[in-house]
């Protein structure tokens, strides 16, 4: 219960943050050359200035920036993200269509990266400065430096083109009409490469942090106490070092949430996944700034949610926090 109150407190604190973000972005977009109406015009193949005036009035784009901001924020609170001129649908609908794919990708990549990073980090720390540590750390350093999009492309070349074991893109076989379990398996098969791509990059970071954290914790006094009590080295690691070393990892999940979402933009583009990331890219290219802003809002919400969950988890692990 204490944790909950604490986490709610933190959540409430991030609301003003979110508002600052959006107000800032909205003002920023006022600087954008061209707005929704221009984009519409481009799609329709041109129009005269009278029509543009009318459309502007219709969309409320003729009011002053401050008025627009207030209107925008009031609509936002009601989760009305505006209208996408390009897709011809309310932005919220477009986003909700694309959200599941991104969430799936995020969840699987995060799990893979966290679990892998944890295991490898512990292994490396146990054999620090010996060859397993060297190998693991080197592989980690290399993946850390690899651009995600390039790794994805190389993955496609090797597994999809040459070995033909995995599909080159898409979320599922279009038009195959699978349902239930068969559909789930199909999706998993399609998500394997994207997950591996995004996951491996972040695994490298988690690996490094876990290893450093383990090494740091192993120098602390209570580890000496545990050994003086007669515990075996493995038991000390498991029962004392591990839990304490996990704390920075948990924090890292929260910090990296935003970066992972950003990474999904390129990975979804490479693998043609129908997710939020690719939607953002399309919105930039097609100058659908309403949609872009909507995506940013939803992303910020996602990051805040993840941080909320992280806070609760952290407070469960560390009894010192909830006070």
């Amino acid at each position: 219960m204490r944790f909950f109150l604490f986490a709610i407190r933190r959540l409430a604190a991030s609301v003003p943050t979110l508002l600052i973000v959006l107000a800032g972005l909205f003002m920023l977009l006022q600087f954008a050359p061209g707005d929704t109406v221009d984009a519409l015009m481009a799609q329709m193949g041109g129009g005269d200035s009278a029509m543009m005036e009318q459309l502007r009035k219709y969309y409320g784009l003729d009011a002053t920036a401050t008025v627009q901001l207030v209107r925008y924020l009031t609509r936002l609170v009601q989760l009305d993200l505006g209208f996408s001129a390009i897709y011809g649908k309310p932005v919220i609908d477009v986003i909700l269509e694309r959200l599941p794919a991104t969430l799936l990708l995020m969840a699987s990549s995060l799990s893979f990266a966290f679990a892998g990073g944890l295991v490898l980090g512990v292994l490396a720390a146990r054999r620090v400065n010996q060859w397993p540590d060297g190998v693991i750390s080197t592989i980690g350093a290399i993946f850390y430096a690899t651009p995600a999009f390039w790794l994805g492309l190389m993955g496609i070349i090797i597994f999809a083109v040459n070995l033909r074991v995995l599909p080159a893109g898409g979320l599922e076989e279009i038009g195959a009409g699978y349902t239930g379990l068969r559909r789930a398996v199909d999706i998993v098969w399609h998500l394997a490469l994207p997950t591996a791509t995004l996951g491996l990059i972040f695994l490298a970071t988690y690996l490094r942090i876990m290893r450093a954290s383990m090494l740091e914790v192993m120098t602390l006094d209570f580890v000496r106490t545990a050994r003086a009590k007669g515990l075996a080295k493995a038991a000390v690691l498991r029962r004392h070092v591990l839990r304490n070393a996990l704390l920075p990892m948990v924090t890292l999940v929260g910090l990296q949430a935003g970066t992972m979402l950003g990474g999904s933009v390129v990975v979804e583009s490479v693998f043609a996944l129908p997710g939020l990331g690719r939607l953002a890219y399309e919105a930039v290219v097609q100058r659908d700034l309403n949609t872009l802003l909507g995506i940013v809002f939803v992303s910020a919400l996602l990051v805040i949610c993840v941080n909320f969950l992280v806070d609760i988890l952290y407070a469960r692990l560390d009894p010192r926090i909830a006070n």
Binding site: D221, K229, R320
Partner: protein, 544 residues
């Protein structure tokens, strides 16, 4: 004589590149059944290394190169890891210096004490819990059920140390190795823990190897003593013999450096007040979202005191008494919420920042931590000239002044271009003194200036302070938790508890006939007070 634990000719080597080749050199110590054996030495004497060697917990690259440790007719050094594990905790228990960091912050007390049973026995959890609770009451912890469920950060320092002792004695080991267990505790808590150890030892017959740097503690509880210096045994013997008739010069030097807690008779203290503190209060508020979680700490409650020109006022208290807060209010590092602080004619509390900066040359401070009080990236000379240059002195003149100050505080003026890490702890405190005195202040506030130093170095710095006071005509406020030191260097003393001054007066009078209960408790808690060191130093007297 077969003792319980026999360390013979133990030599422990350090890796190449350390400041000396051996941590321990040909050390022989003999621990008998049922005795409390104190191991005393200054920092760098290797005393902690012995504890690690006994339990087979030496750090990597540090190894035993000669000698033996025999416990119950077995050589501990020849045992494999598995056999050693059976002995650790079960037959030889250990407690450490810092109870806060020695306990895992993420596990409850009951869990950690219970771990002893889970590691070495097959008892079920219900039985373990019962045992843990009875252990906690053995060490006189109030409300054992609450403590058993609590986490380390929820306990006080004394409670944590009691829990550590309960944990170490859980399986009734034959030997308890205590590595400076009371050094980090307040003097009153220390007295309680020492009494507890003596009591438990008498009841259970455990032999205790007690490592310390404090002769008072030795006088209080030891049966026999071994003195270490630079990894070698200097002298050993029965307590009374060693304390009153030491034979080695190092031992004599150490004992001479212990200040007697009997203050010399006070000289007449008359003259004007140079510093007046009137009704100063300081409250810290921590805001939480809910009214319930707002934490209010009253660091200072209506404190009043005065400092007569040319004398030293001691402010004595334990942690949390507010003495450091008061010191910082005086030099305006912290702003008091209420009250007035006057320096001569100037009212410090109502001055603007700019005026305060100008006033700062009249009142200066010396800090406790010789490592944290000097900017590691500035040379010693720069540290001393900074203040002078800030107050308008041209560079070359400042350097000349600094050079002179170096000589006055007993440092080689050639060392001005060296960095702090190249100096020892005592030398760094001298640099701190030079920095403060370069501005020729009228008042010097010394915040525990010798607490972090070895006893022999402490004596030197205290002598230096006494001389400087005379040379510069300083008035001094001396903050300390060590009553012995206060007894020797302060003319008047004020005792603080929980943000209030509970008693004040001439040192000799307060020590001889304390009026407040807390003062009496403090004086009673000084370890080893029945012992008066033969060649005890008295700094006020020698300074004339």
């Amino acid at each position: 004589m077969t003792g319980l634990l026999a360390i013979s000719n133990l030599t422990v080597s350090l890796p190449p590149g350390a400041d000396r080749p051996f941590a321990l050199d040909d050390v022989s110590i003999d621990l008998r059944r049922g005795e409390i054996h104190c191991l005393i030495g200054e920092s760098g004497s290797g005393k902690s290394m012995i504890a690690n060697a006994i339990l087979g917990l030496l750090p990597e690259n540090v190894r035993v190169t000669a000698g033996d440790i025999r416990f119950e007719d077995r050589s501990l050094l020849s045992l494999g890891e598995q056999d050693m594990r059976k002995i650790r905790g079960a037959r030889i228990g250990m407690i450490f210096q810092e109870p806060m960091t020695a306990l895992n912050p993420l596990r409850s007390i009951g869990d950690q004490i219970g771990e002893m049973f889970r590691t070495h026995t097959d008892l079920d959890s219900a039985t373990i819990r019962t045992r843990v609770l009875s252990l906690l009451s053995d060490v006189q912890i109030a409300h054992p059920e609450e403590i058993e469920r609590a986490y380390p950060h929820e306990l006080s320092g004394g409670q944590r140390q009691r829990a550590m002792i309960a944990m170490a004695l859980a399986l009734e080991p034959a030997i308890l190795v205590a590595d400076e267990p009371t050094t980090a505790l307040d003097v009153t808590t220390q007295a309680q823990i020492l009494a507890l150890i003596r009591d438990l030892q008498a009841r259970k017959g455990t032999s205790v190897l007690f490592i310390t740097h404090d002769f008072g503690v030795v006088a209080e509880i030891a049966d026999r003593v071994t003195v270490l210096q630079h990894g070698r045994v200097v002298e050993h013997g029965a307590r009374d013999q060693l304390l009153n008739h030491p034979s080695e010069p190092y031992t004599k030097e150490l004992i001479a450096a212990v200040p007697s807690y009997l203050p010399p008779p006070s000289s007449a203290a008359d003259g004007e007040n140079i510093l007046t503190i009137s009704h100063v209060s300081k409250t810290y508020r921590q805001f939480g979202l809910l009214r319930r979680s707002r934490r209010i700490t009253q660091a200072l409650k209506d404190v009043s005191a005065s400092l007569t020109k040319g004398t030293t006022l001691g402010i004595v208290g334990e942690s949390g008494s507010g003495k450091s807060t008061l010191a910082r209010c005086i030099v305006r590092l912290i702003d008091p919420d209420r009250g007035v602080i006057r320096l001569g004619d100037a009212e410090l509390t109502s001055m603007s920042r700019r005026d305060l900066r100008a006033q700062s040359r009249h009142i200066q401070m010396v800090f406790q931590d010789p490592y944290g009080s000097l900017n590691p990236r500035r040379t010693a000379g720069e540290l001393v000239t900074q203040g002078l240059i800030l107050h308008g002195m041209p560079g070359p003149q400042a350097r000349a002044e600094a050079k002179q100050m170096f000589g006055v505080v007993g440092l080689d003026p050639q060392a001005m271009d060296r960095y702090p890490h190249e100096f020892s702890g005592g030398q760094r405190q001298r640099i701190g003194l030079a920095r403060a005195l370069a501005l020729r202040p009228d008042v010097l506030v010394a915040d525990e200036p010798v607490s972090a130093l070895d006893v022999s170095v402490q004596a030197q710095i205290l002598r230096l302070l006494a001389n400087l006071r005379k040379t510069f005509g300083l008035s001094m406020i001396f903050i300390t938790h060590d009553l012995r030191v206060a007894a020797q260097i302060c003319d008047r003393v004020a005792v603080m508890k929980d943000g209030e001054i509970v008693e004040h007066g001439a040192t000799a009078e307060v020590f001889a006939s304390p009026e407040h209960d807390y003062t009496r408790l403090l004086l009673r808690s000084i370890p080893g007070q029945r012992w008066v060191p033969q060649a005890a130093g008295s700094y006020l007297a020698t300074a004339g």
